[in-house]
Symmetry: C2
Subunit: 525 residues, 2 copies
């Protein structure tokens, strides 16, 4: 957080530039970078921490973007904070920042960003790349210049806990509190984690499993191979590219399974539309062409062919695995090979394979068959078997309405409340910034529906989903893996409608444990 006096001085000095949506708590000061590559390179060169683990101010970066995309992941990891002009509380920038524990302000619509000139203009004031900027992720405020920061006590506790320095008094208090909470709560708390580091951090915070492991984040570390797969013009070429991806995926899953020490891990098969893996600008396409030895025109053509008017409602989720079953097959193989290898090493693994964006029973049936067939093959090859489940995200209104049918095949449900909110309200998390503040000021929506579940509406759909799903399978395990799983009021709602677990980003796990206990106590009363 900012040093209180330093922030007050900045406000009095007229340094406050604008206000966006607070999307990742904390405070960050650093120099402006507009491109993820530049941010990464700058921090690598100038951002070496000193002996006390502290970076010099000029070695810190705030990544300033119109919006972020998965291509920006490494730059976001390097930055202290992320500031975007567009997007809401569940935009890519916000989701990823929370997961990484980064400070983040999104939807700051007063920012006019010019990528070519490398400037950001706010109400007539022009800031250049390299200028200092400060963002307050608690309030959404954006300041010109540097402001001194200090670690908040809570964050300090969490970090110490992660670092296993458990002898401090604060840590003791934290552990006591969490212990009391754990005794009362009936819902499990899992975490959304895509890497062994995230998984370990979440375990230290008390996570009881992974509720959402997004496989596409792994794909971005092997972008060349996934791009080969996307450019493939026939099944054979696509399978060849997937074969190259297989060992990477297997290794990734192996790492996560191992970190989770036998706790359940829910892995979602590929979800985002394929065009997210391709560069959309000419420069990036030229670089990709050079790297892959194909004409740039071919890449431009593929990008064009994959272009969608409404990517949120397009060719993504299980639709990918249905049209290209070889993708699901590769992913299932990677999961089972990793699990079998670990079992041979004496580590029990319980993968839960989750099919995204299911609306029709038949979609789940088709994908489940691929998973089951692949499991059988891998178990025969490895001479060992592991227990596993196949379930589905419930993230489309139709899935709630037809939960009775889907439950005949699903071994678990997990509510994807981000997408369910987007579709149920007809409101894109990337676009609602243009009207949501007006809506909140005029009491049209009580709270930002991407931060707190819209109980009456989206919650109503969830209730139908739970009721109809359990009508088919009374003991159906149901969780939530949308960002709402770490928001206290939403966690309590999940308890009230009878969910078995919530899952949230690692830093929110303690919050969820506490809220789950409060919910249990409230219900008792």
């Amino acid at each position: 957080m900012f040093d209180r006096a330093a922030k007050d001085a900045a406000i009095r000095g007229g340094k406050m530039l604008a206000k966006g949506i607070n999307a990742g708590p904390g405070a960050a000061t650093g120099i402006i970078k507009f491109f993820a590559d530049d941010a990464e390179a700058w921090v690598k060169e100038h951002g070496k921490p000193d002996a006390h683990g502290v970076r010099k101010p000029e070695g810190r970066v705030v990544l300033v973007r119109k919006e972020t995309s998965p291509e920006d992941l490494r730059g976001m990891q390097a930055a202290e904070g992320i500031l975007t002009a567009f997007g809401g509380a569940s935009s890519h920038a916000a989701l990823v920042s929370r997961q990484m524990g980064k400070v983040c302000v999104v939807g700051c619509s007063d920012l006019k960003i010019d990528y070519n000139a490398r400037t950001v203009t706010v109400k007539g004031k022009v800031l250049k790349e390299g200028d200092f900027i400060s963002v307050d992720g608690f309030t959404g405020e954006v300041f010109e210049g540097a402001i001194a920061t200090r670690a908040s006590e809570v964050v300090q506790v969490l970090i110490e806990k992660t670092m296993k320095v458990e002898d401090s008094k604060l840590c003791q208090q934290f552990n006591d509190l969490m212990g009391w909470a754990d005794k009362r709560r009936t819902m499990k708390v899992r975490t959304n984690a895509d890497t062994p580091i995230d998984a370990e951090r979440a375990l230290a915070f008390g996570a009881e499993g992974i509720g959402l492991c997004r496989t596409e984040h792994m794909f971005f570390n092997h972008i060349k191979e996934i791009r080969e797969m996307i450019l493939a013009e026939n099944l054979e070429d696509r399978k060849a590219a997937l074969a190259k991806l297989l060992p990477f995926q297997r290794e990734d899953f192996y790492g996560i399974f191992k970190a989770m020490k036998g706790k359940p891990v829910t892995i979602r098969t590929l979800d985002p539309p394929l065009h997210e893996f391709l560069p959309h600008e000419e420069k990036g396409q030229a670089e990709m062409a050079a790297e892959m030895g194909v004409p740039a025109s071919k890449i431009a053509e593929r990008v064009k062919a994959l272009h969608e008017m409404n990517p949120m409602l397009g060719f993504r989720g299980c639709r990918l695995g249905i049209v290209y079953p070889e993708i699901t097959e590769m992913q299932a193989r990677a999961i089972f090979e990793a699990a079998c290898d670990l079992k041979k090493e004496g580590i029990d693994v319980e993968p839960e394979i989750m099919i995204p964006l299911v609306a029709f029973l038949q979609e789940l049936k088709v994908q489940k068959k691929i998973v089951l067939d692949t499991a059988e093959k891998v178990f025969a090859e490895k001479g060992v078997k592991v227990e596993f489940l196949v379930g589905t995200m419930i993230e489309l209104p139709r899935a709630c309405i037809r939960a009775d049918q889907i439950a005949t095949e699903a071994q678990f449900f997990s509510f994807g409340t981000n997408d369910l909110t987007q579709t149920g309200l007809g409101m894109s998390r990337d676009d609602y910034g243009s009207f949501i503040s007006h809506y909140q000021e005029n009491d049209i929506v009580p709270k930002d529906p991407f931060q707190v579940i819209d109980f009456d509406g989206i919650g109503g759909l969830m209730e139908i989903g739970v009721e109809r799903g359990r009508k088919t399978k009374p003991d159906l395990k149901i969780g939530i893996c949308g960002e709402h799983g770490g928001e206290p009021d939403s966690v309590k709602f999940c308890h009230r409608i009878g969910l078995n677990y919530v899952s949230c980003s690692p830093f929110r796990v303690p919050v969820a444990r506490l809220a789950a206990a409060q919910a249990a106590l409230e219900k008792k009363k």
Copy 2:
């Protein structure tokens, strides 16, 4: 339709190029034009019908586009047929074509259109602007060259009926059949019409009112003024631009009310996102800048600011009228002024004002208040009152779930099944072309959900909407105005769940009357 022998010859001659989605029945032959302006200009100059009302082949145009947008309306009206590379059965091209009674094939993904070179390449074959092309709107087939067409008997009947030549034997048979149907059916049949011509045609086909009048189509005829409104930087300028639009809207409504002779007319307030009214390409922006006397950079900036990642889920529908209440006010004023003027002339008018994209009760409340306040003002000014209703589209899953709340303010519901299908299934009608054929071939969806209502899913949401809405208001009038309202199986479904009326494009009105009668008979059994 095509002359059977001529079409067979084309197939034998290898002239068939590709197959898309059949989106507007009939057959069309003409020369290729890629731009709506060019199509309009060409037909104006070369397309004069001869003494028998027939155009020379070289005076006919097939408009070939990647996709169409509201800017293309006049060009579509001039063309014989419309062919698009993208989009599905409910894309803009398909919806508008059906309403206009134009032949249309959409989502023909084999077409590679190059707007700069003015060519379309299909499987290696290059066709230039000015070359002949033929499209079969019944089958989705696309042919190189001209194919002789002849009027289908059914269309002939419908046209004769419109022309009031009711003495033919076929017309007699048609009228008899419709008469029997009308005796049996309990659901009313309305039409979707935006112009007096459409309204008159639909009346001749037996429409009992207008179920959907889209005001944005009128806006396109006064594009300069609406663009002034969008560019306005403050409330004053916006109101000045709206004041210029008012007389045009009033005149439009006057014409439609008059054509409908006292039958109910449901008018939807502005729905599409504002960027649809601005040119997205540099050339168009330069032209607009010259015409309006503003720098092109200002227009480019506004287009950029209005850009959305998922326009379907963005700043549209009642969200526009809530952030800019002056738009709703102008539209309400135009409606009431026209209605009062007609009443003074002795013609009774029953406007039903319909607020689109409502998800929250409060949205409807806020918009309804503007309408009621405006009505009161206009009635006082004119010294006359008209009866009217204020209701809402039910086109978002949340609106179905909270129909009980919304019904406290709504005087009628109208299901917008196009958008309800898009949001309920998480499937954009512009983007589902990339996977829907695979889905249909593999029995994942039984029928194209944009052609036939997905009874189990979207139908399930509708049932909840009807049940909860009527729990609040037992006699609530409920209709449907999505394209499904003219599809026989969907019409029967609407009857089964207790809707009061269906509304569809003028040419489908007789089909809906027949299906409604069949549904009533089936239910009786």
